[in-house]
């Protein structure tokens, strides 16, 4: 049993240390409760309203909607295909939201190669194209033929190059 031989000052220091650490523990406990409730609230709230793709949560309705859309539109696309994914850039947030939507698409389509529709490789490499939430009445992009039409967007296949002369 260690004894405190340092007198009043030592005992005061010991007391202060105990008080400081207990206060810190109380602070952490309060923070833990607050953050847990906040995460729950934020997760639920984000599920109920439109949020940009960068703020989507795994398992939230927005993410599940995209996953369902991709499942339907890629059903006939062979595994390993290179797909250009496009989404409105600034419709739901900052200008790069199509980038985050394309990352979600890449996560949901691990059997395919997903690249950003506006990226440098898309025009050259992609053999399929998926437009998520395109503006209404958008015609098929030139060089692509419709594959699947869905209320949330469309899938296209690259038109074969015309035979040379």
């Amino acid at each position: 049993m260690a004894r405190d031989h340092r007198g009043t000052a030592g005992r005061a220091l010991t007391l202060a240390l105990h008080a400081a650490f207990l206060c810190a523990v109380g602070w952490v406990a309060l923070g833990l409760v607050q953050e847990t409730l906040a995460r729950h609230h934020r997760y639920g709230e984000a599920s109920q309203r439109a949020v940009p793709a960068s703020a989507w949560q795994l398992g939230s309705p927005q993410a599940r909607r995209l996953e369902h859309f991709l499942t339907v539109t890629t059903a006939s696309i062979p595994a390993g295909s290179v797909i250009a994914f496009t989404a409105p850039r600034g419709q739901q947030g900052k200008g790069d939201q199509d980038f985050f939507a394309h990352m979600w698409a890449a996560y949901f389509l691990p059997r395919h190669h997903i690249l950003l529709g506006r990226g440098p490789g898309a025009a050259r490499e992609a053999t399929y194209r998926i437009d998520f939430r395109p503006p209404n009445a958008t015609p098929s992009p030139p060089g692509w033929q419709p594959l699947v039409r869905h209320p949330l967007g469309n899938a296209y296949r690259r038109q074969p190059a015309p035979p040379g002369p």
Binding site: H18, V28, E35, A106, Y107
Partner: protein, 484 residues
């Protein structure tokens, strides 16, 4: 659901047993890290041998190590059951905090965005490909998925999915809370020097370290990322770095060396920053052993301890170099001019509301921890690691401010828990009386917190004194059970 839970538990157990096969009856946190590093090496070897990852191939590869772990752990298991102790209120409350984090992670409320953007997708690609999917890694548009990062976490995800027979995110996210739960054990070992009968302060320190980490992990969404692996690695080395150096060549010295070597290998396999942490840990351990640096053999032993890091990082670095994956497009020369944007962002990161003020207090205490002999090396490693991160921001080609803002609050979690632990150790030191502060190796037997040799509920490497199979070690050179 039940089968997925069973597969997760089986895999975690297999990793611990595999760790025991390498280390003997090591503490759970150390055995887990050794097992995870071994899994990385084995899966890499299978991939190099063009053997697809499957339940059968993984099971057969792990089986010898699991059997070896059961064999080597059996004697220790009986001993551990006699000494089992729940360890007081501090451990219990810390565990409760981790359980809250695990619950939040399992409900997907706190998923790390990088789980979606690279760690998770790489794991799923590896799972579907039955190996390292170089076709995915080398596609130029996948550079944002950081194909050059170490693969321990994606491989762990792939192994979990293979064991479970599907890709179930909630279970994959549980590896992060598990790492934090295991971090309780080295914290207990480091705080084991409290005088008997004084439970409040070490218990509070334990709750502060683990609770603050759990709090930040929930608030900043760390589930599914590798950051808590680095936290675990540094905390694992904390008991070694914060106690008096044992005699060179002694059993305690070998245990310390193994502890640092395993933590370093685990860190190096987890994340690029972990390679830096691994180097710092080995360097700090080597310098601390300076009383025996007069001869060549201690250096040789130190080089042997660096071998696990080499084994873990070697294939990854070679593959990354061969495939050109190691280039980071946003890295350039060091530019002091970035200070104008980086420094304010660093201040804001330290005051990130997700930290609730804890990070800034911990970092501000660095000088105090550095001048105290007990905490000097722990603070030096944590501080140098954070300083390295800061230095890296100065090499940004574009968007240095965004880089700091998006990453520094998160990677503070690699070092802040260790600094908080340093606080706890200092406080316990004051409680015990400065000069009379006992070495953990001489700890009083009736202490509520076990000594590091008994700490973490099962902290018992086979000792020559209690294991008739183990022979006394020579005074120099690696121990008999040192991994090759």
């Amino acid at each position: 659901m039940l089968l997925a839970a069973l597969a997760f538990v089986l895999l975690a157990t297999a990793l611990v047993l595999a760790g025991w096969s390498l280390l003997g009856r090591a503490p759970l946190h150390l055995a887990f890290q050794a097992g995870a590093a071994l899994l990385l090496v084995l899966m890499t070897a299978l991939d190099l041998a063009a053997i697809p990852w499957s339940r059968a191939s993984l099971a057969w590869t792990l089986l010898p190590f699991v059997v070896g772990g059961v064999w080597r752990g059996w004697r220790g298991w009986r001993g551990w059951r006699q000494r089992v102790s729940l360890g007081g209120w501090g451990t219990g409350v810390a565990l409760l905090a981790v359980l809250v984090f695990a619950f939040v992670a399992f409900r997907l409320w706190s998923t790390n965005p990088d789980f979606l953007y690279h760690w998770g997708i790489k794991g799923e690609r590896f799972y579907l490909a039955g190996g390292l999917d170089t076709d995915y890694l080398t596609r130029p548009w996948n550079h944002h998925a950081h194909p050059g990062y170490p693969h321990l976490l994606p491989m762990l995800f792939a192994a979990t999915a293979i064991a479970q027979g599907g890709w179930y995110e909630p279970w994959l996210l549980l590896w992060s809370p598990l790492a934090l739960a295991l971090a309780i054990l080295p914290c207990r070992a480091a705080l084991a020097c409290a005088p008997s009968g004084r439970k409040l302060l070490p218990g509070s320190a334990m709750v502060l370290v683990v609770g603050a980490t759990a709090l930040f992990s929930i608030a900043h969404s760390l589930a599914g990322g590798p950051d808590l692996f680095l936290t675990l690695a540094l905390l694992t080395a904390a008991p070694v770095l914060t106690r008096r150096s044992p005699q060179p060549g002694s059993m305690d010295g070998h245990r310390d060396g193994l502890t640092v070597a395993v933590a370093a290998a685990f860190a190096a396999g987890s994340k690029t920053e972990g390679v830096v942490l691994a180097g710092l840990l080995l360097l700090a351990f080597g310098i601390r052993s300076r009383p025996s640096l007069g001869s060549w053999k201690p250096w040789r032993r130190w080089a042997v301890l660096a071998l696990p890091v080499v084994v873990v990082t070697g294939p990854w670095l070679f593959q990354g170099w061969r495939l050109g994956l190691l280039e980071e497009p946003n890295r350039g020369p060091f530019q002091w001019a970035h200070a104008a944007v980086i420094l304010p962002e660093l201040g804001r990161a330290l005051l990130d509301p997700h930290w609730h003020g804890i990070a800034v207090v911990a970092v501000a205490s660095l000088p105090l921890l550095l001048i105290q002999g007990r905490t000097r090396w722990l603070a030096a490693v944590a501080g140098t690691l954070l300083l390295f991160y800061v230095g890296t921001y100065f090499t940004a080609r574009v968007g240095a401010d965004f880089w700091v803002r998006s990453s520094f609050p998160r990677i503070l979690v690699h070092g802040v828990p260790a600094l908080l632990l340093g606080w706890g150790i200092l406080a316990v030191q004051v409680l015990a009386g400065d000069a009379a502060f006992p070495s953990p190796l001489d700890e009083v037997e009736e202490s509520d917190f076990p000594s590091p040799l008994e700490a973490a509920e099962d902290s018992a490497f086979p000792s020559p004194l209690d294991s008739p199979e183990a022979s006394p070690l020579p005074s120099e050179g690696p121990p008999a059970d040192l991994p090759p």
